[in-house]
């Protein structure tokens, strides 16, 4: 019987096994940000403990960083959190891509971009979207602050072996259907907690054809299905992405690493606890209309009706969601009016995402009722986009072009959607209050967000795509 990549990574990282205990796993890379780390560093100080491996730790600030004017931080509490991270990194000798660094950005964008993220690694961060790094064939998952402290002190974690779930994504994608649509489609069909207790491995021809950016979008939202980690066996696409990245192995060491990484891919006859199969042909541009990511439909569909709910709990959830969202049962998705558009977040803020959105926006104008923001995922993404003139396309259309950070994905800084207003957002969560108290979020792909910005309501982005793109 062969092994899956999940089993292979697990076995490679076993430090200690003992009856009646979880396994003690070694952690190769620990990413740190300003919001979930201060209490962990305080804990180290209280017990007079050190960071065991500062060289396997990397910090940045992203969650509450301003994206307009970085020289002025009016929020004193947020500022204190940022200066606390600076002090902690200095005192414990942890490398930091701070507010002035050209490497600063959303932690899940810069890890891969800098080549810190590599196949076969165990990667953790005090953030649930750490699953993003699984796109490289690493076992990457979010942890709480107590475990941040544990990893800082010991470079290990106690873990019970998870169940494995393979999602086979078959068939050819229709033109104009993005990776974001595929993961939203999975959530819409399998629900909000189908992955609880599992690590997901995504496989199949549609995955093989995806770029690394697209794979990251898929793995990023594994947690929205309840799975702490989602990963993809590495292949040539993975290796060529990593070549020449800042912290990736170089020259001969890179070739040796690739040989090792190649061996990680799941064996043909590997067994899984559960297997799901998705037909990509059935996927259309998706739009969330409710208050969790599984409350999502195809763009040309309508919001479900109360009478169609299978259980009393479903009915109550739908009622609550419709009240919060200010929408009617049976309402057409394309009739939802939009006042804000956010293109950004660890799900969809990479160069490719911005390029795709810019293709829709080019030569058009943002609807007068809409405030539209582009927040690149990192300073590097921002710089590259500016080299390509993408910033100008957005600015000429009436978009605001911002500095990198998490921004309106969770609105910890001042990028907030006002109560009662609707936002087409390329982020990952549409929970009540996520983008601001009373804010109404619609999760979409970058092209769908761009199309909504132009029309002032949800619209099938394929209608705005150049004929040769759609066919």
């Amino acid at each position: 019987m062969g092994k899956s990549i999940i089993e292979k990574i697990w076995e490679r990282h076993l430090v200690h096994q003992e009856d009646g205990k979880p396994d003690l796993l070694y952690i190769d890379l620990h990413l740190v940000h300003e919001v979930t780390s201060p209490q962990a560093f305080s804990g180290l100080r209280v017990k007079n403990r050190k960071v065991r491996r500062p060289d396997r730790t990397f910090a940045t600030m992203d969650h509450n960083i301003p994206t307009d004017n970085r020289n002025v931080i009016n929020d004193k509490v947020a500022l204190n959190q940022m200066t606390t991270l600076e002090k902690n990194c200095r005192d414990f000798e942890v490398p930091l891509a701070g507010i002035d660094s050209p490497d600063q950005g959303i932690v899940h964008v810069i890890g891969p971009e800098l080549g810190l993220t590599q196949p076969g690694m165990t990667i953790v961060c005090g953030d649930s979207h750490t699953s993003t790094h699984g796109a490289f064939g690493s076992l990457a998952f979010g942890i709480g602050t107590s475990e941040v402290e544990h990893v800082l002190a010991t470079q290990t974690l106690w873990r019970t072996k998870p169940k494995t779930l393979k999602i086979d994504i078959k068939g050819e994608r229709q033109k104009g259907v993005s990776a974001k649509d595929i993961i939203l489609y999975i959530l819409a069909n399998y629900g909000f907690d189908f992955g609880t207790g599992y690590v997901i491995e995504y496989s199949g021809e549609a995955i093989r054809e995806m770029t690394m950016e697209e794979r990251m979008t898929i793995c990023n939202m594994s947690i929205e299905g309840g799975a702490r980690a989602g990963l993809i066996s590495p292949d040539e696409t993975t290796f060529s992405y990593l070549e020449n990245r800042k912290y990736a192995p170089k020259d001969e060491a890179f070739n040796t690493a690739v040989e090792d990484w190649r061996a990680l891919a799941s064996d043909e006859d590997a067994a899984y606890d559960r297997v799901i199969s998705i037909d990509t042909n059935d996927v259309a541009p998706m739009v969330s209309w409710g208050t969790n990511p599984a409350m999502t439909s195809k763009v040309h569909e309508s919001i479900p009706k109360l009478a169609d709910c299978e259980t009393e709990i479903d009915k109550k959830s739908l009622e609550r969601a419709l009240t919060y969202m200010g929408l009617q049962e049976g309402q057409k998705i394309e009739d939802i009016e939009i006042q804000h558009v956010f293109i950004g977040s660890c799900t969809n803020s990479r160069l490719e995402d911005l390029r795709q959105a810019a293709d829709i926006v080019k030569g058009r104008q943002v609807h007068p009722n809409v405030r539209a923001l582009v927040v690149p995922g990192s300073q590097q993404v921002k710089w590259q986009a500016e080299q390509e003139g993408i910033d100008l396309i957005f600015k000429e259309a009436g978009f605001q072009w911002r500095e990198s950070g998490c921004s309106m994905c969770l609105s910890m800084n001042n990028d907030i959607v006002p109560s009662g207003e609707h936002c087409a957002s390329t982020s990952n969560r549409n929970f009540e209050g996520r983008q601001g108290s009373g804010a109404r979020t619609h999760l979409v792909s970058p092209t769908m967000a761009a199309a909504a910005a132009i029309h002032g309501h949800i619209v099938d982005a394929r209608k705005l795509m150049a004929a040769e793109t759609v066919q």
Binding site: V15, T36, R53, G144, A153, T196, N292, S411, E432
Partner: protein
């Protein structure tokens, strides 16, 4: 963390599914650098009205639901963000036990690390508890050593908990201290992967 053995306390119904950590503790309160003082922000957006007054319809604000230490909720409790501020807020408010049919993974782990006991019970049993707790006063006894939940109306059930976590909770051990006793093993591993 102090040890957890038995608890007899008021249990209240929170009959909602998919309660996410953004609701448990909204992001505007995550900027603090302490672990304490989050209780007053627990369920902030549901608990308070726009004018800052308490929302009288919210479960936790009802007079009969005050001073509870056990929260009974529906499935997938604690989904979403990994913020440990969620268990910190629940504990600071006064909760010591959460009962639900299922919990999100990260939240579940964060609870255990802080001595907040998450108990998963079958749906029909949670339904019974939710319905019972809608009529206050309602008390439950949680016996961690025996792994039992009982009420004073004759209901009694066993729950399961990972034995490693049970011993951590009962003894109130510091996990980092335990791991550090394996320092030689970690060093050996690091030497091997150099």
């Amino acid at each position: 963390m102090s040890g957890f053995k038995t608890l007899m306390a008021k249990a209240i119904a929170f009959d909602r599914a998919n309660v996410d950590t953004d609701q448990i503790i909204p992001k505007q309160f995550l900027k603090r650098i302490e672990k304490t003082g989050f209780g007053k922000f627990l369920f902030n957006d549901w608990r308070y009205q726009a004018d800052g007054n308490l929302n009288p319809d919210f479960e936790l604000n009802k007079e009969e639901n005050q001073q509870a230490a056990i929260l009974i909720a529906n499935e997938n409790f604690g989904c979403g963000s990994s913020r440990e501020h969620a268990p910190w807020a629940l504990m600071d408010y006064g909760f010591k036990v959460i009962i639900a049919p299922t919990f999100a993974d990260i939240f579940h782990q964060n609870c255990l690390k802080n001595g907040l006991l998450p108990i998963a019970l079958p749906k029909d049993q949670v339904r019974y508890l939710l319905d019972s707790a809608k009529v206050q006063p309602y008390q439950l006894t949680i016996d961690l050593a025996e792994e039992k939940v009982t009420d004073n109306k004759g209901f009694s059930t066993e729950f399961t908990i990972d034995q490693y976590w049970k011993s951590m909770l009962v003894n109130g051990w510091d996990e980092i201290e335990i791991t550090m006793q394996l320092d030689d093993k970690i060093t050996e591993y690091e030497y091997a992967i150099r």
